[in-house]
Symmetry: C2
Subunit: 437 residues, 2 copies
């Protein structure tokens, strides 16, 4: 989240400037920020103060994100990821009524909370829970519906990490080769002497801050280059994702630390395009989407060269995201076919280097690791997950035979705080499912 | 077609400026302008001279339109028109091999031409011919495929004219009411004292030139306001479709002449939104698209307020456009249900005022008329059609039980010249089908 637009919106809403209020008031609650109630983009035309667009950054300001995260194609150019001609893979619906009342204690807290309360606490836009492949719980809030795609943010990374691992398995990408072997253009950048494996596991030494609370962090320059964020007057920086990647400087050594940096996925996207001769959306469609029995097309945000935002630009429906999670839970087999090789799924679930991960200081997943752009808990249930800013997630619990696909528009970008609620809630549901078998 | 970008591209391609060449060379042929051969937007990244974007108008320059007309969502913001959850309505495929060789004489010409030659002459991107509901001919060129949507340009008008006629039939829109009754904001514009019927039949007296050959014509200001065309530096005109409509001045009297002006459809779109409380894309989805058994979602180009370009912004697949035509041929009944009331289809087919139409001077349809945003030939076969610049068309021949859906990217915007080839070709095919029953 870029704090600047948040702050400016808060100033507009509360009538207080930063100078007057060192501590801004808390953001609107989920109920109070409901996008239908706020009336975003309703009317012909919508009133001026109810319009959301990319040019003034309202599309990335809270509470407008409660509308825009479900409507990115309406403010930015996009490409389609076609579902193909097959029938959707059936997800039988068997709603359980014993979930909303499940209680748990948030990490570091003392008071208990219910599952239903957690949905609000995390600004949930949509959630689908699968148990043994059946939809046991499905909720849509605000402008979301079963047919409406929502931006997946960095959950996108896990899609492309999976594709990358597939290509490595097939020998189309050599994980020990240098990035510059495939992309000579990156020879003089931070990535020139990094290996494909270091990119896949995010252990590249590159000067790039992913601190969402810092408006000057490189992650914001990255999305500004790609046009996802608008550019200030007089902007003279890079104007495409690739041009941004070329500017990145080395910092530290490759392979030493796990350092979660979105640029890795955009470099991975470039690698996939270079070895496939196709866009990453085409590769995703051919390799996964058209086999998955998705209900709807997905789409990707693109820059002005038509280059997709691999690090965070997939938009898809909640059920389709759940299908992808279910396929991964089932070892890559879904909809009557082996979509991702079992060996790739096993490698992902086995996880990465725990020591490197520990040093990175993610408190929400102690003992965890990261590899192939997936978060691996190494907990008793074998949970592994995909995570995106503002609360997007695919949470896969193999022991409980449970997959959760959740979209959210939390005012805070980073998930460490919201995961103190989400993870205990998800774990409590998993234990409940195991206990009530 | 805006001549400015065409000329600049020709200058780039041929190395001659306007000063040197009073008569520019002819544009590249269909074969030579094939977008795959030209390599538009291929590569990671595409070479600088192979990129197409809206900001520099390459998306609306020939030969780039041969790529961009199939990829508008990649350069502009869009909204989805969902096909719903039902199965596609089957279009049985029964390819005939006796069509490419059909010969005809273009209007005003002496030499004969074959059907296959006509495809090239008209820069056809995609064509589907239905005979008695079966696909008897289907071709895709360049970057088109059966799954790829293409911009329909003013064929969009016939979709919204049909919706408007439905709402009139239901009493939700009073055709005799003034536009300002529904849209008080337009009271002081040209449309304030025009009736809904005059809008539907395009007999509004408004200062607005649709002369595509004139770079200063209001039609270009219209699309510039909506962001479909980029705005020059220092631009201080309207920045949304609605804001543009507010500026229009009356010229002449309403109801006197047929005057084909795209603004009428955008006013109609506003009327539909105002009485439905929904976007026109939502109304189109609910009323037609989700009932039609479309194979794919369609989509619409929108301005920065999320307002769809009703006058020309629908993008859809060729087969789905053929389904819409087939539904109209069958009196509104298709896919097992009455989608458009029979009375509405009958009214459209009956046509409008021939005398008014004659005065407008369309040589390609002598004795024709226009009503509810459809072109009616009044010929022996009862042909009626939807038409869009650069060769988009739905051509419905009830006597021959034939529907043609065609997308094209002709370098010339206006269809009068290309129709000297298209109409005789379509008529020859119709006669052939009747003769070989």
């Amino acid at each position: 989240m870029n704090l600047k637009p948040i702050v400016s919106v808060m100033t507009a809403v509360y009538g207080v400037g930063i100078a007057q209020a060192q501590t801004p008031p808390p953001p609107l609650s989920a109920a109070d920020s409901d996008p239908m109630k706020m009336g975003w983009m309703i009317g012909s035309p919508p009133p001026a103060d109810k319009r959301i667009k990319a040019t003034d950054m309202t599309h990335y300001s809270f509470p407008q994100i409660r509308w825009s995260f479900a409507n990115f194609r309406q403010v930015l150019p996009t490409t389609n990821i076609g579902r193909g001609d097959g029938s959707p893979a059936l997800l039988p619906h068997s709603e359980r009524t014993d979930i909303d009342g499940i209680t748990f204690t948030p990490t570091g807290g003392t008071a208990t909370m219910t599952w239903a309360q957690a949905l609000d606490a995390n600004y949930t836009d949509a959630i689908v829970v699968l148990h043994k492949g059946q939809i046991i719980y499905e909720r849509y809030f605000g402008v979301m519906s079963s047919r409406q795609p929502h931006i997946a943010m960095s959950v996108s990374k896990s899609f492309f990490g999976t594709l990358g691992a597939i290509l490595v398995g097939e020998g189309k990408l050599d994980e020990n080769a240098l990035v510059s072997h495939y992309i000579p253009e990156l020879k003089d950048s931070a990535f020139g002497d990094a290996t494909v494996r270091q990119v896949l596991d995010m252990s590249v030494g590159v000067k790039y801050s992913e601190n969402y609370a810092d408006p000057d962090a490189e992650v914001w320059k990255h999305v500004r280059a790609g046009g996802v964020f608008s550019r200030p007057a007089g902007y003279d920086g890079p104007t495409s994702f690739y041009d941004f990647l070329l500017t990145l400087k080395k910092e530290g050594e490759h392979g030493q630390d796990f350092a979660y940096k979105t640029v890795n996925t955009d470099v991975l996207g470039w690698l996939i395009r270079r070895v496939s001769g196709k866009s990453v959306g085409e590769v995703l469609a051919e390799r996964i989407w058209q086999k998955l029995g998705a209900e709807q097309d997905a789409y990707m945000v693109v820059d002005s060269n038509g280059t997709e935002f691999a690090g965070g630009g997939i938009n898809l429906t909640t059920r389709d995201m759940a299908r992808f999670g279910e396929m991964m839970r089932l070892g890559g087999r879904f909809n009557g076919q082996q979509i991702v090789p079992r060996t790739v799924v096993d490698e992902i679930r086995k996880g990465g280097d725990k020591a490197k991960f520990a040093k990175a200081g993610y408190t929400s997943m102690p003992g965890g690791s990261y590899n192939n752009m997936w978060w691996v808990s190494h907990n008793a249930n074998g949970v592994f997950s995909a995570r995106g800013v503002h609360g997007q997630t695919i949470y896969i619990d193999p022991k409980a035979e449970m997959v959760i696909a959740r979209f959210a528009s939390n005012p805070v970008a980073g998930n460490e705080q919201s995961n103190t609620v989400s993870y205990p809630a998800f774990q409590a549901l998993a234990e409940h499912l195991i206990a009530t078998l």
